[in-house]
């Protein structure tokens, strides 16, 4: 990265080649079969989200009054059709984009904001910690579904407002995890050792706190993606998130509910997708957690 790396000392080169922490994590992760399966599923979903519109067997918006609610396996409609005669398979594939977007984005923002607040609270302690954490607790006291609906309702319907309200819902739990992990790390011997070797608060937070805290917070945040997707689906279901005719799994679940007695399997398909996605993200975060545990 800098010019000094080019100094030709064999021994120095040996240090540069050292396998980093993350390559060790990656190696352990590869050996975890369940996590690998989950990773493949997530990868497929991400690819669907990115390129789904180009590979759909039919136009997901093309409705047909004659072909409404065809069962699974109908000629030309592998997974049947919905209540407006649109191809379910295409809609599910395209729906991955909005559903994943609604699942990941709020968690990502909440991860960034919540980590900063939590680390500051955990590291400083004292009255600042009390002030921050009690405020967070107020938000935390609401059930997350209720809070998301209330915030979304107050902000008004729409994807942007749904994202904001979901982000606000996830900041408190991430903040709490960040605070507790930071408070633990702060009292570790290596932080004291770093202080004894002359590191100031900024250097300690930068290397020792971030290095040890981001991993656990990240793993926790990954597990929230599933929750976020379900909440986002819930908001869409209530008409507070995505608007028809956009394909989004939660919204599809809502519009198909009228067909539950005539075509129950088709009505359940978006729910199945949500289930598969959320369980994959959960398995993935579990795998990450054990792969990041250095003391195995």
């Amino acid at each position: 990265m800098n010019a000094s790396l080019s100094i030709p000392a064999a021994s120095v080169a040996a240090i540069e080649q050292s396998p980093g922490y993350w390559s060790g994590v990656f190696k352990r992760f590869l050996r975890d079969r369940v996590a690998m399966i989950a990773a493949v599923v997530v990868l497929v979903l991400v690819l669907l989200a990115l390129f789904g519109t180009y590979v759909t067997p039919a136009d997901p918006y093309q409705s047909s009054m004659l072909k409404r609610l065809k069962p699974i396996g109908t000629e030309g409609f592998l997974l049947g059709t919905d209540e407006l005669g649109r191809d379910m398979m295409s809609r599910l594939m395209v729906g991955a984009r909005l559903s994943l977007f609604m699942g990941i984005t709020p968690v990502l923002f909440a991860f960034l904001i919540g980590s900063v607040i939590g680390i500051i609270a955990g590291y400083t302690g004292g009255w600042l910690n009390t002030a921050i954490m009690r405020t967070v607790d107020v938000f935390y006291a609401f059930p997350s579904v209720l809070l998301a609906i209330a915030l979304s309702g107050a902000l008004g319907a729409g994807i942007g407002n749904a994202l904001i309200s979901l982000t606000l819902v996830f900041i408190p739990p991430i903040c709490r995890v960040a605070e507790s992990v930071t408070a633990q790390v702060r009292s570790r011997d290596y932080v004291e050792a770093a202080r004894a070797s002359g590191a100031n608060a900024f250097a300690i937070i930068k290397t020792h706190v971030l290095g040890n805290v981001l991993g656990p917070i990240f793993v926790y945040a990954t597990s929230l993606i599933a929750v976020s997707m379900i909440l986002a689906s819930g908001l869409s279901f209530l008409g507070l998130g995505v608007k028809p005719p956009e394909p989004e799994w939660g919204l599809m679940l809502n519009t198909l509910r009228t067909a539950i007695y005539t075509q129950p399997w088709i009505a359940a398909l978006p729910g199945l997708m949500i289930f598969i996605t959320s369980i994959s993200f959960n398995m993935l975060s579990d795998g990450l957690r054990s792969a990041m545990d250095v003391k195995q």
Binding site: A193, R195, S197
Partner: protein, 335 residues
């Protein structure tokens, strides 16, 4: 005493908390360490050894701790350093090794990275230079195949190796004073002696002054020039190793030495113990803190403050009964 004192502690008092819950961890410690000298602080758990040591780097949380007295290390007035001066002081003038190296090394960075980071922070040199220096340090502390070990993570090393790495980390910025907080307690016996020999050797080659906290008298004898025995936050006896080992004058030192296992014990023979328990540091008794457990104690020991009595060149004891303590202990001594 010599003029060339690198550490001078005067009337150090450390109190944790305040009011009725105040714990008086250190009560008036005065200690001189000369350049190139190794001093061992020994005593039971809770005798104030580690607290004294940590005060030398001002590591105690400032809000909860009251420190009185005077500490000078290599010309720096430690208790009045500004926070940036303190950062420079720590590591460059005075650094510390810890009891449990697995906990004192950050698990997510390789040991090499941690040493390099410390060097870069203090010296502001390039990464390559810092790497070279780290390698030198690993050779100095005698870690086999140092290139490979620099890339290892703390959990991948053995206990002895980790402690060597910890020592290398402490020496990263060429300090003049090394503080060691029970550096061998977490290690097994064969490794302990290697680490002690290493410390001794480093002290000689680098001209370090070492303050060494331990409750293992054997370890203290191995590396120290002088021994200071602490009890209830005070130094109760101080002298060179030979004097303390052969002719201890404070009853506590005597009892401590008797409670060791000498070679092998005969079957059925009991190890000598000190009856009672150390006093509660939140409410110390008047007079000598050791009096309630002392076989020499008389009524005069239980009042006033006990002065440090000089017993010849660089030997002193905080006891009113030094006139009888050098005599072989007999049951006839009144208690």
């Amino acid at each position: 005493m010599s003029q060339d004192a690198i550490i001078e502690i005067k009337d150090l008092e450390v109190v944790f908390g305040s009011g009725s819950a105040a714990v008086r961890a250190v009560n008036g410690v005065t200690l001189r360490v000369e350049r190139g000298q190794t001093v061992a602080l020994i005593g039971e758990s809770g005798s104030g050894k580690s607290v004294t040591l940590r005060s030398l780097l001002r590591l105690h949380a400032p809000k909860k701790t009251t420190i009185k007295g005077n500490i000078r290390v290599a010309g720096h007035d430690v208790l009045s350093l500004s926070s940036s001066a303190l950062s420079n002081f720590r590591g460059e003038v005075c650094s510390m090794i810890f009891q449990e190296p697995l906990l004192a090394l950050d698990p997510v960075y390789s040991v090499g990275d941690q040493i390099v980071e410390s060097i870069q922070r203090h010296k502001g040199c390039s990464r390559a230079e810092a790497n070279k220096k780290a390698l030198e340090l690993f050779e100095r502390v005698k870690i086999p195949s140092p290139e490979r070990r620099l890339a290892a993570y703390p959990h991948e090393m053995s206990g002895g190796m980790r402690q060597r790495a910890m020592i290398a980390l402490a020496l990263a910025c060429d300090p003049q004073v090394l503080l060691a907080d029970e550096p061998t307690t977490a290690l097994d016996a064969t490794v302990q002696i290697q680490i002690l020999l290493l410390l001794r050797e480093l002290q000689k080659t680098l001209g370090l002054s070492i303050v060494f906290v331990t409750h293992d008298i054997g370890a203290a004898v191995e590396v120290a020039d002088r021994i200071a025995v602490m009890y209830a936050g005070q130094i109760v006896e101080e002298g060179d190793v030979r004097t303390i080992m052969r002719a201890p004058r404070h009853p506590y030192t005597k009892a401590l030495l008797q409670s060791r296992a000498h070679g092998s014990l005969d079957r059925g023979q009991r190890l000598a113990t000190i009856p009672g328990a150390p006093p509660d540091l939140a409410k110390l008794p008047p007079g000598c803190a050791f009096a309630p457990r002392c076989t020499y104690a008389q009524d005069e020991c239980r009042e006033g403050t006990i002065a440090l009595i000089s017993l010849g060149e660089s030997h002193s004891a905080r006891c009113r009964r030094t006139d009888v303590t050098h005599l072989p202990h007999t049951e006839s001594v009144e208690t």
